[in-house]
């Protein structure tokens, strides 16, 4: 793994991107990495823009925000348009085709997955889309171990929702196998 590894999880408010960022960052802490997790969001709790940045490194991280991403997750069209061009060369792009219709540039490592549709179909709700996409991202990038991610989810979400989120994570990882490159 090349460090520092910069990830941006982007979409709109209410899609759970900040929680996904926290879960990923906590998983990296469990593996004794240096981590910073920052976020930017509008004053709305639903709608508007929202993104979470996670930087994982093997040395101290000075600037805490992701500048050129090794991996970009875009859960809506607006964020895909906005952040696509800050993706590093050979960076990985993951988009939710439930909301992203056009990708403005050809990116070699693109994964187009209808996350929200799958979540509704398989998990009965769009709510765990964030963790499902995160499971996918972790499987594709290999940035943290599955066990760490699972433990982090258990520590980060309310006990009542742990099972749902673990299932979502596993589903995301399963999906990644189908998209294997």
């Amino acid at each position: 793994m090349k460090y520092p590894y910069e990830i941006r999880l982007s979409g709109s408010g209410g899609q759970g991107l900040i929680l996904a960022g926290i879960v990923l960052a906590r998983a990296a802490v469990l593996e004794n990495h240096y981590v910073t997790q920052t976020q930017s969001y509008g004053p709305e709790s639903r709608g508007g823009y929202s993104y979470a940045d996670v930087i994982i490194s093997d040395e101290e991280i000075y600037f805490p925000e992701a500048v050129s991403f090794d991996c970009l997750l875009a859960l809506n069209q607006e964020s895909c348009d906005k952040y696509l061009f800050d993706l590093r060369e050979n960076g990985i792009l993951i988009v939710d085709t439930s909301f992203v219709e056009n990708i403005a540039a050809v990116v070699e490592n693109t994964y187009e997955v209808p996350f929200t549709e799958i979540a509704i179909e398989k998990l009965g709700s769009p709510i765990p889309t964030n963790i499902m996409a995160l499971g996918f991202l972790v499987k594709v990038t290999g940035i943290v171990k599955t066990a760490s991610l699972q433990k982090s989810i258990e520590e980060s979400v309310k006990p009542a929702f742990v099972d749902l989120n673990i299932n979502a994570m596993k589903l995301g990882m399963e999906l990644a196998k189908n998209y294997g490159k």
Binding site: V29, V35, F63, V67
Partner: protein, 409 residues
Amino acid sequence: MPKSDTKNSNNMNKENKTTPTKKIEELQTHKERKTVLMQGNEAVAYGALDAGCNFFAGYPITPSTEIAEILAAELPKRGGVFVQMEDELGSICAVIGASLAGAKALTATSGPGFSLMQEGIGFARSTETPCVVVDVQRVGPSTGMPTSCAQGDIQQSRWGTHGDSPAIVLYPDSVKESYELTIRAINLSEKYRTCVILLLDEVLGHMREAVRLPDMANVRVISRIKPTVPPQWYKHYENTEKYPSPMYSFGEGYRFHVTGLTHDVLGFPTNKPNEAAEMMSKLKKKITYNIRDLVQIESFQMEDAKIAVFAAGITARSAKAAVTLARKEGIPAGLLRPLTIWPFPDDAVRKMLRNVDTVIVPELNQGQLIREIERLVKDRSDSKLIKIQRVDSKLIPPQDILQKIKEGI
């Protein structure tokens, strides 16, 4: 000060005498601290608890809300008191009242609330009442942008309250340091009997990092000391020039008077010029005679630096990244970062100006730190100053600073 406040906090203080079992419980919860993912605001709350804070009165405001949220849950468990006040005017007054009754009191707010607290902050400084105000800065003026970052309160934290009074203001740049400086803020407030301000940036307040807090046994806590004189000899404002200067709290059998008016050593209002001069000089000397204790700075790659970046808070993180990048290209750059921004580290800056040719001052405002550097650069007119100022709610990326470093060389 409203009477009811003092009464309430007084009751609180009596209940709050920690029983041995409680202490054990507390220590147990702190045993074997692990590295965890922690937010800047969380670190402030845990720092407050570790420093012995047992009273919080505040009005929740983004981006400082988590501090109130955590203390609302934690303080009652430990015998402390949390009060959600009607506004920030009430918050600072309740904090001062609680402190006069013996509590270690803290409040947290952001720009709009910080403005409302200014009068109370002056009252705390005038009456030499220990307390801590945390200001997690957001974009202003007015309600501005609640979820975005700015460093617009740097001068306000120094000059915001009316009248001429010196200030102690601390400014961390990481989650770990937010914890450490919260403890330090409470310690300094107790030691110097004044209102200490802790400035944070929105990004830092909300940012999460991997942090391992020190075990409780390694946390150094300073608490006010009690005078040894009998009640009839007690002078609440006696100038001992020793720190911590002894003070009694209300309800301990010692009488003293508290007023925002200029007062004599017993606390009663005075119009005598000599007594006024004495009070003012006492307030000033507390700071100026203890500069070495108060000022903390970080020198990063400064030993052989020819070009220096002077930055505080979250902007220093950008600067550190830029300096590291410059060093990789063989440019002798360094960073000087004040952890205490008020009193301003004049001596450290003068030393820096003697050794470097160019100083770059990046900040998220339209020129607040730079004023101080300009004041000091007069001694050495050949030093070049480069400003980087940004007020569009975004951080200054390291590349922007690196570019100026290259221009300045």
